[in-house]
Amino acid sequence: MYAQMPKRPMDDLKRYAGLVWMALGPITIAFLMRTAAAEIAKNPVIDTMIQWGVFVVIFIPIAVGLVMFGWYAWKGEYMEGVKD
């Protein structure tokens, strides 16, 4: 689909930025899990565990969504003129 479309100035930027969004997903989760582990170790009470547990659990699907968003961007799904 991408190859058939006439290229516009922002198209390459949109596509390559997709790689950044794909990378951001796992980086965010790794950072979050590391921080959660450190904070729970610092204060191992149930409140801290629940708070950080909720953060991690809820951000994992969001990070997966960011990776998918990056993938679609990389595939040129958001470029001008792309029809569904």
Binding site: L24, I46, D47, I58, L66, F69, Y72
Partner: protein
């Protein structure tokens, strides 16, 4: 009466019915949050770890997990059964839960049943809120003429802020009217008066349900239903097909995520910052917010209306960009304006009590004095301060000892102005967003598709702002503004994604976005 006049009258009714119900739902949701401390004292005693655990669950689960879940549950019903009956149902669930919270006996009376019932009711509130907004926005947008969706849906957008306004007003009023002696009144409020704002909700809900029941179904959805073209599986169509899923993801990462953090920073973190960092008096910090909201609310309609003319994308993105660039200077100004070290004291402070330690404390303190300081700008500060041998204040627990700060008129209105600016950003990002989301998705799966990114953006990214920002200040003690990096980072990322990928074709003349 001619047809256009009739249409306008009908549209006004639609907006009124939808907005009133949504406002009540926000009111219901906020009073729990605003009275969290009082509720915790009644239902979640800290000395009991299980009750404290339920309290944490009530706080976190209702806002972050249940809201998006409610968006899915009620979005699906709304796309299959209809908008009208779905947001009638969410209103009844929300109103019923709120009223019930006002009736539940405390922990001291019924023990563990109390926090468990409160947790369940709070979860129901979150669920209902997740279903309400998408329905109201969709319902109004599907009645609105093409090219005016931004203007008409902006009335729905005012309700979240007005709901906060009404909840703060009702709480402050109730705290003051229970007794002629203010301290007795507050004590009565903490004891039983806190139930009044919850019980009051039932009256509002009954009125709103009555008004909504008289409304007809959205014309676009009614047409779809008559033709037998409604979705059989809205969840699968919304999130299982690439065509729609990619727009859901764009809506989340390119608009609602940034909008959520700007909204919660301007209206919630600002208040928390005033109270916890600037140490401004409880009631005063709330009246500051009330004034700012009052002055800023009309701008939801201004920006919504404007978005019909010039497009929605850049109004929202400029709001985010302004937040990214100015949050730190604005919060620094608030801190400086309320800081007594930048004020001139009228005369010698009035000492209420003084205690000299037998020996110097480990932090060097030799005396502890409770004092009232009066400043030329009208500010009055009361606090218990520890002094060392050089007569310098020794901060304890990272705080200078101030326990109450009543700002004078000049700093008070300066801070109202600063929060007004932050809420103005909220109106820029939030005013046009309902119309933007509605136009992004087709009628048959609109309720489901727009509700999820809205509630993930607002419930998760936005709702976490006060927690993450406060958490950051506990990790990095030296910088009181460190918490702002969370909303700044999220809004900056959203701005970049939105600027790159969101298209500006709001299609103001399109009758429907199904095509």
């Amino acid at each position: 009466m001619d047809q256009p006049a009739n249409q306008t009258k009908n549209l006004r009714k639609v907006i009124w019915a939808s907005s009133l119900g949504t406002l009540i739902e926000w009111y219901d949701f906020y009073i729990f949050g605003s009275l969290a401390t009082v509720i915790a004292g009644q239902f979640f005693p800290k000395e009991n770890p299980t009750a404290a655990l339920l309290s944490t669950l009530a706080t976190f689960a209702a806002g972050f997990i249940v809201r998006p879940f409610g968006a899915l549950v009620f979005g699906r019903i709304g796309d299959m059964v209809g908008r009208k009956y779905t947001f009638l149902l969410t209103l009844v669930i929300m109103g019923g839960s709120t009223f019930a919270i006002g009736l539940v006996p405390g922990y001291a009376t019924i023990g563990f049943a109390a926090p468990i019932i409160i947790l369940v009711l709070r979860l129901l509130q979150g669920l209902a809120l997740g279903g309400e907004y998408g329905g109201a926005a969709t319902y109004v947008a599907e009645h609105a003429p093409a090219g005016r969706r931004g203007f008409y849906t902006s009335w729905i957008q005012t309700t979240a802020t007005l709901g906060l306004f009404v909840s703060l007003g009702v709480i402050l009023l109730t705290r003051q009217v229970l007794d002629s002696d203010p301290s007795v009144s507050i004590s009565k409020f903490n004891d039983w008066g806190w139930r009044i704002p919850f019980l009051l909700s039932s009256v509002l809900v009954v009125i709103s349900v009555y008004i909504r029941m008289k409304m007809s179904e959205s014309p676009m959805f009614a047409e779809l239903k008559a033709e037998g073209k409604t979705s059989k599986n809205p969840l699968k169509e919304s999130f299982g097909h690439k065509t729609n899923l990619k727009m859901v993801l764009l809506a989340l990462f390119g608009t609602t995520m940034g909008q959520g953090v700007v909204w919660y920073t301007g209206q919630f973190y600002a208040q928390s910052f005033l109270e916890n960092v600037c140490r401004v008096d409880f009631a005063q910090s709330r009246t500051i917010l009330i004034w700012s909201i009052l002055f800023a609310t009309p701008f939801f309609v201004v920006f919504g209306h404007w978005s019909d003319r010039i497009g929605r994308k850049w109004i929202m993105l400029i709001g985010m960009a302004l937040a990214v660039v100015t949050y730190r200077p604005l919060f620094r100004m608030m801190e400086r304006i309320s800081d007594p070290t930048h004020m001139t004291e009228v005369n010698e402070p009035f000492a209420l009590s003084e205690h000299v330690f037998d020996a110097p404390q480990p932090d060097g303190a030799i005396t502890e004095v409770t004092r009232t300081h009066r400043f030329t700008n009208g500010t009055v500060v009361t606090g218990t301060y520890s002094y060392n041998a050089e007569d310098v204040i020794v901060p304890r627990g990272g705080k200078d000892g101030t326990v109450n700060k009543q700002l004078g008129p000049v700093p008070y209105w300066q801070i109202v102005g600063i929060i007004f600016i932050m809420i103005l950003y909220v109106t820029m990002v939030y005013g046009p967003i309902a119309a933007f989301l509605v136009e992004l998705f087709p009628t048959r799966i609109r309720y489901t598709s727009m509700s999820l990114p809205y509630h993930v953006g607002n419930g998760v990214f936005g709702g976490l702002t006060p927690f993450i920002a406060t958490l950051l200040t506990t990790i990095h003690l030296k910088d009181p503004l460190v918490g702002l990096w969370y909303p700044i980072g999220v809004a900056a990322l959203c701005f970049i994604i939105g600027a790159l990928y969101v298209k500006e074709d709001v299609r103001p003349n399109a009758q429907t976005t199904d095509g």
